[in-house]
């Protein structure tokens, strides 16, 4: 599903974000990527969504060789991948239903199709009763569910969740993780990045640890192995304090 073959990314300022990274993710996998700030997680995601282009190596996603795509193809690439972020990135002046519908509108879906798909997706994420509310009327967890619904509405084969629990309290964070697991059970490949040790350890799924642009660990049923999670961004209070090096 996702193949990185000796991928290197050097930014114009000379900073090397990824150096010769090899990564292979099978379809329907649930993979967690951990790494301290600046390790290269964000660059990895930006390469997948084509916000950045790699300097060398090969990236193949869903059979599509990223060397062959042109600027015109980029929107099509993005439609094949759902992404959710720590800060939700919802349109504040549109209702919940409209936010979800927006992803379909930009790809030219018919109104009838949108009207059918949006309520279904909101039911899946447990927000069917809040379709007509605005994002500011929702809790953080609910906003993230809206973002997930928007990411999934086009039924992508891959869902990237970039620190989706970063701004949420533990209860809401778990609900989001459970939702991601549910989506994964339906057959979507999920790529999760997080700093939350408890979540990583409880998931018992594949964990890839990145440091300085390289993969330093890749474990089936892995655990959180970073020694000093200095970049908790205040969201995982109470969970990840006093992390010890494991393994």
């Amino acid at each position: 599903m996702i193949l990185f073959d000796r991928v290197t990314k050097v930014y114009p300022n000379g900073q090397t974000a990824l150096s010769g990274l090899n990564l292979h993710i099978e379809p329907k996998e649930f993979v967690t990527i951990v790494g301290s700030s600046g390790a290269g997680k964000s660059t990895l995601i930006k390469l997948l969504t084509r916000e950045e282009t790699h300097s060398s190596g090969k990236i193949i996603v869903g059979g599509l060789d990223y060397d062959t795509i042109t600027a015109k193809d980029v929107p099509l690439v993005r439609r094949r991948i759902g992404v959710v972020f720590q800060d939700f990135k919802l349109l504040p002046n549109r209702r919940v239903g409209e936010n979800v519908a927006f992803a379909l509108e930009v790809s030219g879906a018919r109104q009838r199709e949108i009207k059918r798909a949006v309520p279904k997706m909101l039911t899946l994420v447990g927000l069917s009763a809040k379709q007509n509310m605005y994002p500011h009327e929702l809790s953080g967890g609910e906003r993230q569910r809206v973002a997930i619904a928007r990411a999934l509405i086009r039924q992508p084969k891959i869902l990237i969740a970039d620190e989706p629990t970063g701004n949420l309290d533990p209860g809401n964070a778990w609900q989001i993780i459970e939702l991601l697991l549910k989506i994964n059970r339906f057959g979507t490949t999920v790529l999760l990045t997080t700093h939350n040790k408890e979540i990583v350890n409880a998931l018992k799924r594949r964990v890839i640890t990145i440091n300085r642009g390289r993969i330093i660990r890749d474990d089936e049923q892995g655990r959180y192995t970073l020694e000093n999670p200095t970049t908790l961004k205040g969201a995982t209070k109470g969970i990840a304090t006093g992390v010890e090096a494991q393994n």
């Binding site: 969504t49 600027a71 929107p75 099509l76 690439v77 993005r78 439609r79 992404v83 990135k89 919802l90 349109l91 002046n93 927006f102 992803a103 509108e105 930009v106 790809s107 030219g108 018919r110 109104q111 928007r150 086009r154």
Partner: protein, 304 residues
């Protein structure tokens, strides 16, 4: 098609959400389009006025009353050969007196004065020139040595008098006004381009989160750019409608007041005959100014 409507809808929503900036941009565009249309109307009206004035002017060549019909015929042939004669007419002394009495029938004192003087007026050749602004060729024929003896020594040909200078002054003024109108139009087109450029730039900044989300969910470049272009085109569309309506109403109400100086009759009839040509031209200009400014702003500030 569906995408097109979504883009239009996005443009209208942006326009309304940005109401103050949109109003300012539309107002500047309206002023620009009014200046363009005023300059166009003035040009038309001045051309009509000049044509009216110059058409009324004949060159009058006053003849010595001893001139024989053969000499007159030869002189007429020579004038025609100058190439700038639309028509010419010989006016005999009797005819001249009759014309004078007819023109001044409301002024008995003038007619009485003529009677007292013995009803003497010179015969003349009245020439209507093809191009009244360039009478040099006719003047050359008249000043030929052979023709000098035919002229009335007391009444020089009329083109050498004050009337020619007046025509020259009107033509000069009209040309100046046309040039000034063109220059003002260009200046204001540039100003409104800059202001719309800035408005769209602000809109891009205030909506950068939304643009990022659009990119994130896979919107194409034109789906993101389209609403900005349509928003700016909308300034032009509204401005064109306001400018044409405003100009027409002002023209209709002011034409009678200035009718004795400037001939707006043909302009009004042009307006009435081709309202959609004028509106279409203004719409086209407004849309082009809007779209170009918006595309310029995006090429600078909207990196996709």
């Amino acid at each position: 098609m569906l995408q097109f409507w979504r883009i239009l809808h996005g443009g209208i929503r942006n326009f309304l959400r940005n109401a103050w900036l949109s109003t300012a941009a539309t107002a500047v565009m309206t002023v620009t389009l009014i200046i363009v249309i005023v300059s166009f109307i003035s040009s038309l009206a001045l051309t009509a006025t000049i044509k009216g004035v110059t058409d009324k002017i004949d060159v009058s060549i006053f003849l010595n009353n001893n001139t024989t019909p053969d000499q007159v015929a030869a002189f007429e042939a020579a004038l025609k050969s100058s190439g700038n004669v639309a028509s010419l007419m010989y006016v005999s002394p009797d005819q001249a007196v009759a014309n004078y009495k007819n023109q001044n029938k409301d002024k008995p004192s003038l007619i009485q004065a003529l009677d007292t003087a013995g009803n003497v007026l010179p015969s003349s050749i009245e020439v209507k020139a093809i191009d009244p602004k360039h009478l040099d060729a006719i003047e050359a024929v008249v000043s030929q040595q052979a023709n000098q003896s035919l002229l009335d020594p007391t009444a020089p040909p009329s083109y050498t008098g004050g009337r020619k200078e007046t025509i020259d002054r009107i033509v000069h003024f009209a040309n100046f006004f046309k040039t000034a109108g063109l220059a003002a139009s260009i200046v204001f087109v540039v100003i409104s381009t800059l202001i719309i450029f800035n408005t769209i730039r602000m809109a891009i900044f205030t909506r950068r989160d939304e643009i990022e989300i659009m990119k994130l969910v896979g919107a194409t470049k034109w789906f993101i750019r389209g609403p900005f272009i349509f928003e700016a085109a909308l300034y032009g569309i509204i401005a064109a409608i306001v400018a044409v309506t405003f100009s027409y109403l002002v023209l209709l109400s002011s034409a009678p007041k200035v009718a004795s100086y400037i001939d707006f009759g043909s302009t009004i009839s042009f307006f009435q005959s081709y309202p959609f040509v004028i509106l279409g031209g203004e719409l086209l200009l407004g849309i082009i100014i809007g779209a170009v400014s918006s595309i310029l702003a995006m090429s600078r500030y909207l990196k996709l």
